[in-house]
Symmetry: C2
């Protein structure tokens, strides 16, 4: 590589901006797909940022002192990848032959398969919330003077998550967070709500606690001044730079025109555009290097021995309490961080909050930002545990899905699941959480039925890759297992068995206790039932399930406190049919009617998932055969 | 019923407020569960509103001219139900013996099993967005002068959805929308972010386009003045009333104290509280009656004949285009309303928007508000169709889940699903939408593979109860069916069959075309394959699936452009195992690795769901047997 220019003045930045435009056009036209016009509007902003303000060691993206650069408007990927070419980490050839192609790391929207990308974006309104998480880590965990620069689109300002992010950024005084809003006034299908009404944007951002800079996004001196001021860490507010820009800036045939969103220029237009923009360039530049040491963050200094909580068999303990106990025990690991959506006294995350306040973040009732904060601190190597009521993770499903694409390692705990919660009624009953979390790529889904297994699995979650989720239960139920027992992820427990078993009862969480009671009843009638605690819903223990099915004539009763689709029943069927030909007679008990309020016992009975219904289903399977 | 007092002056309103407090305490204490303190803070607001401003015919909740009253802070249900007692539609006995009890309509959080409740609340930050939908209907569809009064909690102001709602309320100039924010400064686990900082709330609400009234929420004259001014429809802005209140107001032992959220008072405390509040009362009051006619809304005047679009067999048409065609055809029905999340030129909802602009609402990039607007217009009897990219419905899962609890009849269409979309990459690929929507109570999930069936099913959706969802495909594929064909919900099409079939191939959407290609290949090898188009994923056609399984030795290949959990494969297994003992050998092809960018063909192949993989799976099933 030839030596890059490290002293980027505004004249060179102007040339660089044109190069970024040209390369955004060339790459998207070569791919036949992409968003050149949304890239061109922000090219001046990025040229000045990367050339003069972003402190980044491009040869060492893992340098803890690096600033962060997040494209919340992920569809402007041509611009981002053109920046990578300009700093010499991606070749022109890769840009031209890789962009949006199969097998390439230059995907349609940025993902962390690229070492300079922190988080996947492309679902709008997520990059800024993720950036809040990175900034929280910078200010409170790493305590390093890096800045988190985030390029936002103006269309995404309509997403509530943007305002959750600014609210938390100001609450936590994140002066290290800078949102640069590319206000090109045009969305996909036409003008945005606010157009170029920078005053309204400014009033909103200021009301949400930001320092606001309203600038001409094509005036390089204006940009440079605003970026320099916004990058100053001495204050106590996040910064929002409102940049008035023109979509497709620099090519007169598309500039500020509708109907050019998400469309590559046809080749003949691309040729004219490159000419109008002054031709191809191959500038190689580097901006400022990070300040401070490149020390590894505190996250690296983990490894302390975790002492798991212990419970007596028969003692009644809610699994949500065990979650809190185990999370607090994990606190000796300095990489473990917790956060909650204003219900920590219900999820028991408050035990960690009290013991390790410096590593606990209250996210209030903003579940999207809760997940984004977890993803963001995870970018810096911390291991986040995020909790709320299980039902309310549905609020953040898009964020959870995107977290998987971000290759994030985050641990989620949802309490108060199912009709078991009783009087509060269906709005508070998670009845689709298992389906939702199972469908996330690479996820782990756990649903323990006692405190011992819950605590052991919380400890296991802290080292799992990807999205792991534990469903905990409101009520206190007897401890079933000894402290020394092992609960491998992907395993199960056969909690009752004999050589004469005629039917298998499968439960998890509250229904496991109902299965045990049903087995007791059936035993009194001379029917031996095997009982399986399928605490690991994903991955599920196919071998144990298959062995039980084989031993009990294929007769299975699956009982779950969840809607019938996608939960425990699906996990069992997927596991059993995944291993070859099988003969099955399945009774699947689940919450099939809309529940109301009531006691736990009333609601389990009304939903047909209590011991009486399980026993009855088992009897009928035997009669029908 | 004795005659109610209809002239409620402020002195009587004060008495009424105390009654509401007393009854909130009595009902929650009797239930042993509930949120009395969150009710007491808002009792003065509700007493004045219900006694003097809310125009409502309590004997005819279906009166189209009625104002609407939505408790966005649904946990204040004791207050709402105490209001119902005060206006004489719920008895004291029902309140005392029904609240939060099994089988009662007085659920822990309000649901529309009560005739005076529009929408289910209890997941915070949803009532106000729903109210925006009702207000849209009032101003633009019903054109009736009713107001939509919404009681919000201060904790829920942290939800981004609140700001999506205010943004849309000001964009659409909804002067008929009034948000009353009960700022009691205490959340569940402690103080809210902003406490009693009414200035910041005011700046935010004003920046989002609202008229703002900051008042003492315990000063009845102040309240009355603000409500009267806010209820004036002549302006062009929504109103936000910021009411400074004290949680637990009126009982000195809990007023403005922490640790009293969501806790009923123990009986001895409840007795002292009732004494301090002046004792039990049984005031019966009625506020003003609705103005204007009680005419049925335009929604009632539907029934026009819908002329479905027609396609030629073999013609290549994207199912998303068929969605747009069919939706536009439905426009002759005056109850049909459409809305989209700023991608109407991709979902083809723009065809309806052009033909019926007066019944189309652009919701920009705010998917939570998109669903809430659908729920809200549905409250007034309209039939909403809401569309965006299938992936982005994940953003609104909590709203979809709650819509089911609201007994809403809404139609959703998600385009650009699966790896089929190609170059844009995984952020834009819905790969969990089928699982997510199947797990919603009472939902219908459709995934047609050609334009003819897609159009027919869109027409069917317009009359379905509950949440219905159609997944449409980006690319254009050959039309498979004749225009006259029937596509019942819950049905399927056997698109290829013979008496010698050895294996069944099951697909939907893009994979159905791959199954057909695979069957062609297999036929060339002397293997007859049955092919089923499972366009109705929920409910699934168990009879046809079972017959096919029986005819083909239980050998099934299911191919889906979705993660393996909870989608087409689960639908097939649930249907087949739901009908009794079965012997199966299943090959389940689904998207098991994280995809990147590429062409459709490359990505279908890489995911193992193209014709070659389907044929190969079929061969292996036959070899293994």
């Amino acid at each position: 590589m030839p030596a890059p220019t490290t002293d980027v003045d505004l004249a060179l930045a102007a040339e660089l901006a044109q190069q970024l435009r040209v390369d955004s056009i060339r790459s998207s036209t070569s791919a036949g797909s992409g968003h050149p016009t949304s890239s061109m509007s922000a090219a001046d902003l990025l040229a000045v940022l990367v050339g003069r303000q972003l402190r980044y060691d491009w040869d060492d993206p893992g340098n803890a002192a690096n600033d962060h650069l997040i494209f919340s408007k992920g569809h402007a990927s041509p611009l981002l990848y053109s920046v990578y070419k300009a700093v010499g980490v991606v070749s022109d050839e890769e840009l031209m032959t890789g962009y949006r192609r199969f097998g390439s790391r230059l995907e349609g929207h940025p993902t962390p398969v690229l070492p300079w990308v922190d988080v996947a974006t492309g679902s709008l309104g997520q990059g800024l919330p993720d950036a809040v998480g990175v900034a929280l880590a910078g200010k409170y965990l790493d305590e390093l003077p890096y800045r988190v620069w985030t390029l936002c689109g103006d269309s995404e300002m309509a997403e509530g998550s943007i305002w959750e992010a600014l609210d938390k950024a100001s609450y936590y005084k994140l002066s290290n967070l800078i949102a640069i809003v590319d206000i090109n006034r045009l969305g996909q299908r036409g003008p945005t709500e606010l157009g170029w009404d920078l005053e309204t944007y400014a009033a909103r951002a200021a009301a949400f606690g930001a320092r606001v800079f309203a600038i001409d996004g094509h005036d390089l001196a204006d940009i440079d001044q605003a970026l320099a001021a916004a990058g100053d860490l001495s204050g106590h507010q996040p910064s929002v730079i409102l940049a008035r820009t023109r979509k497709g800036r620099g090519f007169s045939e598309v500039e500020d025109r509708e109907d050019w969103h998400g469309k590559p220029l046809p080749e003949h237009m691309a040729e004219r555009a490159v000419v109008e923009l002054g031709g191809e360039r191959n500038l190689l530049v580097r901006g400022p290097r990070p300040t401070g040491t490149a020390a590894r963050p505190a996250a690296a200094a983990s490894g302390a021995a975790v002492k798991p909580p212990a419970y007596e068999r028969g003692q009644k303990v809610a699994t949500r309490k065990a979650y809190g106990d185990a999370l607090a025990a994990l606190g000796v690991r300095r990489d473990v961080v917790a956060m909650d959506g204003e219900v920590s006294n219900s999820t028991f995350a408050d035990q960690f909050a009290k013991a390790y306040p410096e590593r606990y973040f209250e996210m209030f009732i903003a579940e999207q930002q809760l997940i984004a904060a977890a993803v963001g601190v995870g970018v810096r190597g911390y291991r986040p545990f995020a909790s709320t009521f299980a039902a309310f993770f549905t609020r953040a499903y898009d964020f959870i899905r995107m977290a998987a694409i971000s290759r994030a390692n985050i641990c989620l705990a949802g309490s108060h699941a199912g009709v078991e919660i009783g009087a509060d009624g269906p709005s508070q009953m998670a009845l689709e959480d298992l389906a939702m979390l199972r469908a996330v790529h690479g996820s782990t889904v756990l649903y323990p039925s006692d405190a011992t297994s819950a605590a052991a699995l919380v400890l296991a979650m802290a080292d799992l890759e990807g999205i792991s989720y534990m469903r905990t239960t409101r009520g206190a139920y007897p401890v079933l297992y000894d402290s020394g027992d092992a609960f491998p992820v992907g395993g199960s427990k056969v909690v009752r068995r004999s050589d004469a078993d005629q039917v298998t009862l499968i439960g998890a969480g509250v229904t496991l206790h109902e299965c045990l009671a049903a087995a007791g009843t059936l035993a009194g009638e001379g029917i031996d039932a095997r009982v399986i605690d399928l605490y690991s819903v994903k991955p599920a223990d196919a071998a144990t399930l298959a062995a039980a099915a084989a031993a009990t004539g294929g007769r299975l009763v699956v009982a779950e406190d969840h809607h019938p689709e996608g939960g425990l029943g699906s996990a069992v069927l997927d596991a059993l049919t995944g291993a070859g030909r099988i003969d099955l007679a399945v009774a699947h008990l689940a919450v099939r009617e809309m529940p109301g309020s009531g006691t736990t016992a009333e609601l389990l009975a009304a939903s047909g998932i209590d011991a009486a219904h399980i026993a009855d289903a088992a009897r009928r399977l035997l009669e029908d055969d």
